[in-house]
């Protein structure tokens, strides 16, 4: 299956995402530069990687969300293309309006990097279906601005519609209602602050993240 990783200036988990996609699909993903105006043809799944696009200047993800490629992604997302954003990628997705809410500075005001336990709160989603009976996974977090915020109406709606996919077991950043990962109403666009792509290898962070990639790839 053809997949793609978008690279913005100062994306820094693009290689990590590519390794994860290749591990699960068996095929190297296309690395797409942010100034491209269109995805290569035949791409079925896109990852917006972590990093510090544009140095996190202005607001995290704000400038990247105005890239030519993101315009194309928004159009294709609305037609059902599967897109996931991890860490900075999640910030870009909220800035682009593909996911509701915003990511603010961590409650503790400091960058936080540690393995974090997550509860899978919707195991029927396209991003979690392969986890089966597993309800708890550990992914690393590494961010300064991961404090998820949305107004109460939005949060209620997310919960009611099963769009909250992961919650933190021990909230590291002050996110509203312990939310760690959400999807859009249609379920094709997903974002989370933790890094599943850093949990695909027993020598590095464990293998809990593989289920997420397998889930979305198999759903396509």
């Amino acid at each position: 299956m053809k997949t793609a990783v978008i690279t913005f200036p100062a994306s820094n988990c693009n290689r990590d995402a590519a390794v994860a996609l290749e591990k699960v699909t068996g095929v190297k993903p296309e690395m797409v530069w942010h100034r491209e105006s269109e995805l290569p043809s035949g791409i079925k799944f896109v990852v917006l990687p972590g990093g510090f696009s544009y140095g996190d200047y202005l607001r995290c993800g704000a400038m990247a969300s105005r890239s030519p490629i993101v315009k194309d992604l928004v159009e294709k997302a609305n037609k059902g293309l599967a897109i996931a954003g991890f860490c900075n990628g999640f910030q870009v997705l909220t800035e682009a309006g593909l996911l509701p809410g915003a990511l603010m500075r961590n409650r503790g005001l400091k960058f936080v990097c540690r393995p974090e336990k997550l509860n899978i709160t919707n195991s029927n989603s396209r991003y979690t279906s392969k986890y089966g009976d597993v309800t708890e996974v550990t992914y690393p977090v590494a961010h300064h601005d991961g404090n998820y915020y949305a107004d109460d109406d939005t949060l209620n709606k997310l919960e009611k519609q099963g769009q909250v996919i992961f919650r933190y077991a021990n909230n590291p950043n002050g996110s509203a209602r312990d939310i760690a990962g959400i999807c859009n109403e249609a379920g094709n666009v997903f974002g989370m602050m933790p890094h599943p792509e850093r949990a695909i290898d027993p020598l590095h962070g464990g293998t809990d993240g593989l289920g997420l990639f397998k889930s979305i790839i198999e759903s396509i």
Binding site: C13, D16, G51, F52, G55, F111, C113, L203, G205
Partner: protein, 733 residues
């Protein structure tokens, strides 16, 4: 000041040049220098750039070895790790700027050391740091810790290079001068390493990266003098970092390096455009002519003097293959970086600068390097402090309390508050990091089943008590730490932090430490391939404890065979490799429990180190051990607690050694490893050790949820961990 400024003795003195040095300049030029030329000589001959006090001593180091591709003298050292892979690494200080402006000082320290590494064609794959702060109760300490840690994290996290380990000490000796030493390790193709020697005549010189501003002017000169009460006024000499630009610069340079467009490349570090252009020209034996009007500038009306001495960050200088200019422009413009052709190589052997169509500098390059002062400063190597016998050291009556105090003391307590602010996992190859509390960080070579192990070490209290023995110990400890994870130690980088070299006793510490270090390097065949010297770490005449920080790098050739301190299992037997006399001089016990800082440090027996280390590495390769940890600060008891924390399992230490209890538990004898061995491997581990002349004794058992030692302490693992974790969060809250 402008080109018409008359050079007076006062101006010469303000530039840190002695009358003799100025006479050499007059002689080599055959005339008076103008202000630009004087500025250039002053930074090139500063302590920071010329190593004038240290050069003759650094020359003693072992710098060659089978795996050394490039030793000291380039931007960083290069070693061969087989399969066509090379590791490029260096450690550097950013002490003075970090004290004045902790966030930017530390951040630009990280940025600068990364540039040294990717300048040579390597992708940075790991960062380490060695930090020394003043005593926790000092009014400045909290603010400095906060700023330095945020600065290191802010830069490294953004660039996307994992910060995988380091060390942090607190001592009143650093109240007036903190130490921020940053190390970067990069990975390159062994046959595609880039050097700084310019070549050819008429080849274009490109400037790439951030624009030049007025920041950091005379930073190198600042780093070559001691502090006084007005040091705050030096804030404008501290540079400002932009990790975003650095990240773009890495990607753009590596992209261009994959072509054959670059003849030579040099980052603009200390003394900026001056030292980069002069080093390139000097190494290549060519001249350089620059048109300063072409230099991308951030501020208006910058003078040649300011442009040449600015230490604005994230800038590179390169000599490009003629005909490849267009390719270079395309790549740098893709990455939205400033790029300009600012000059060319010449055959004159001179540095010629033009500004506003006028020649503003025309000096021969050779004397800047060749005639740089090379001082033979007087030195007196201090004698070692007297040996303290364990029987002369008061024995605590409450071992539970002593253990808790030691495990929660500033140097031993958990540094989680620090390393949780560093991204340790980006690039997805971190096999082990600060997270485990292990001896060395382990970073996999991308796409391969091998890894580099990295460790930074220095025990300043030993060097203070006996510079020669302390110097040996710093090198031995990195070697031991690399061994603990199963790596073959290969080479080191160093960061030699000392006080004012004009004082013979300080110069004596420096010379003594180098001699000890060098002896250890030779015993282990463990050469120095890069490093830096930071002198004048003094405030109002009070010097820091001598701190020669060492960064060691080793190779784990097969990741199926490595060990950390995390793997101890219920029922494992604890075996201590190495001999215990119970050495309490200059120990943590003496300092933390009795408030005494005295006594000769533990002797380092290099033959025993080698023998014991080689044996431990063999045990790891034969899968005989589940966990390994070296005994260093705080001795056996601290090593055992750390192993228990990492494995989250209790243990009991049994009395096997004939010295007094406090010396048995807290003695800091060197060349020792605590290993956890499965029941059926115990006999072969002990008997093979005996056959090899290695001391090995059963000292305990793994299991339960308590930490116990015969006739001494008995505490809960969870309770001790809680206290171990408390120090930094409480200090920083």
């Amino acid at each position: 000041m402008n080109i018409k400024t008359k050079i007076t003795p006062e101006i010469v003195a303000e530039h840190g040049l002695s009358a003799e040095e100025y006479d050499i300049i007059l002689d080599r030029l055959g005339r008076e220098p103008n202000i630009n030329e004087l500025g250039i000589f002053s930074v090139m001959w500063s302590e920071h750039c010329s190593y004038k006090s240290s050069r003759r001593h650094l020359g003693k180091f072992l710098t060659k070895g089978d795996r050394v591709i490039q030793g000291p003298g380039e931007n960083a050292g290069v070693i061969d790790i087989d399969d066509g892979d090379a590791i490029i690494f260096k450690m550097e200080s950013h002490n003075h700027p970090s004290f004045i402006e902790p966030y930017q000082g530390a951040a630009t320290g990280v940025g600068g050391i990364m540039r040294d590494v990717f300048t040579m064609g390597a992708r940075p794959i790991a960062l380490m740091n060695a930090l020394r702060f003043g005593e926790p109760t000092h009014w400045k300490t909290k603010q400095l810790v906060n700023g330095v840690v945020a600065g290191i994290g802010g830069y490294g996290n953004c660039v996307g290079v994992p910060t995988v380990g380091g060390e942090t000490n607190f001592h009143k000796g650093y109240n007036g001068n903190i130490l921020v030493n940053a190390m970067c390790v990069g990975l390159a193709d062994a046959d595609n390493v880039f050097y700084s020697a310019a070549k050819g005549v008429g080849n274009p010189i490109f400037y790439v990266g951030s624009k030049t501003g007025r920041d950091g002017i005379h930073g190198a000169t600042m780093a070559s003098a001691e502090f006084d009460d007005d040091s705050e006024e030096k804030r404008p000499t501290v540079q400002v970092g932009d990790p975003f630009t650095e990240k773009l610069l890495i990607e753009a340079c590596l992209e261009l390096m994959a072509t054959d467009a670059i003849i030579a490349i040099q980052d603009m570090g200390a003394a900026g455009l001056t030292s980069s252009s002069i080093e390139m020209a000097d190494k290549g034996g060519v001249g350089i002519s620059l048109n300063l009007d072409k230099v991308p500038q951030r501020e208006e009306n910058m003078t040649p003097y300011e442009m040449m001495l600015s230490e604005s960050q994230e800038r590179m200088l390169m000599v490009i293959q003629p005909g490849k200019e267009k390719l270079a422009y395309e790549i740098f413009e893709k990455w939205e970086l400033d790029v300009a052709k600012i000059g060319k190589t010449t055959d004159t052997g001179r540095l010629v600068l033009r500004h506003n169509r006028k020649k503003v500098c025309d000096i021969p390059i050779a004397p800047l390097a060749d005639d740089a002062p090379n001082l033979d400063r007087p030195y007196e190597i201090p004698a070692s402090l007297p040996v303290i016998d364990a029987s002369d050291v008061h024995e605590t009556q409450d071992y539970d309390d002593a253990l808790v105090r030691i495990m929660s003391s500033p140097d031993i307590a958990s540094k989680r508050w620090i390393w949780e602010q560093y991204d340790r996992h980006v690039m997805a190859d971190t096999v082990d990091s600060s997270q485990s509390g292990g001896d060395a960080a382990i970073v996999r070579i991308h796409g391969k089943n091998k890894a580099v192990a990295i460790s930074t070490d220095c025990t300043p209290r030993y060097v203070q008590a006996d510079p020669y023995m302390g110097g040996k110990q710093c090198v031995a400890e990195t070697w031991r730490n690399l061994t603990c994870v199963g790596a073959d130690p290969i080479a080191i980088t160093d960061c030699l932090n000392f006080g004012n070299p004009e004082r013979p006793e300080i110069m004596g510490q420096f010379v003594g430490a180098i001699e000890g270090m060098n002896e250890a390097c030779r015993a282990f065949d463990y050469p120095v391939v890069s490093g830096n010297v930071s002198l004048y770490n003094e405030t109002n005449g009070v010097a820091i404890p001598p701190t020669p920080a060492v960064g060691g790098v080793g190779l784990i050739p097969d990741l199926d065979y490595f060990t950390t301190l995390t793997g101890a299992k219920d029922g494992d037997t604890l075996v201590l490799i190495g001999d215990t006399q119970g050495w309490l001089g200059s120990s943590i016990y003496l300092r933390e429990i009795l408030r005494r800082e005295e006594g000769a440090p533990p002797p380092v027996d290099l033959e025993a180190e080698k023998r014991n280390g080689d044996y431990v590495r063999k045990l790891i390769r034969n899968k005989r051990v589940n966990a390994v940890h070296d005994c260093s600060d705080g001795g056996l008891a601290v090593a055992a607690c750390e192993m228990a924390f990492a494995g989250n399992i209790g243990l009991q230490l049994s009395r096997a050694i004939g010295c007094p209890t406090h010396a048995w538990l807290f003695g800091e004898d060197q060349a020792r490893y605590l290993v956890a061995v499965e029941e059926n491997s115990v006999n072969p581990v002990i008997s093979t050790a005996k056959a090899k002349g290695v001391s090995a004794q059963i000292v305990g058992k793994v299991g339960g949820d308590r930490l116990m030692a015969d006739g001494a302490f008995d505490v809960s693992l969870a309770g001790l961990r809680e206290k171990h974790e408390r120090f930094l969060p409480e200090l920083m809250s």
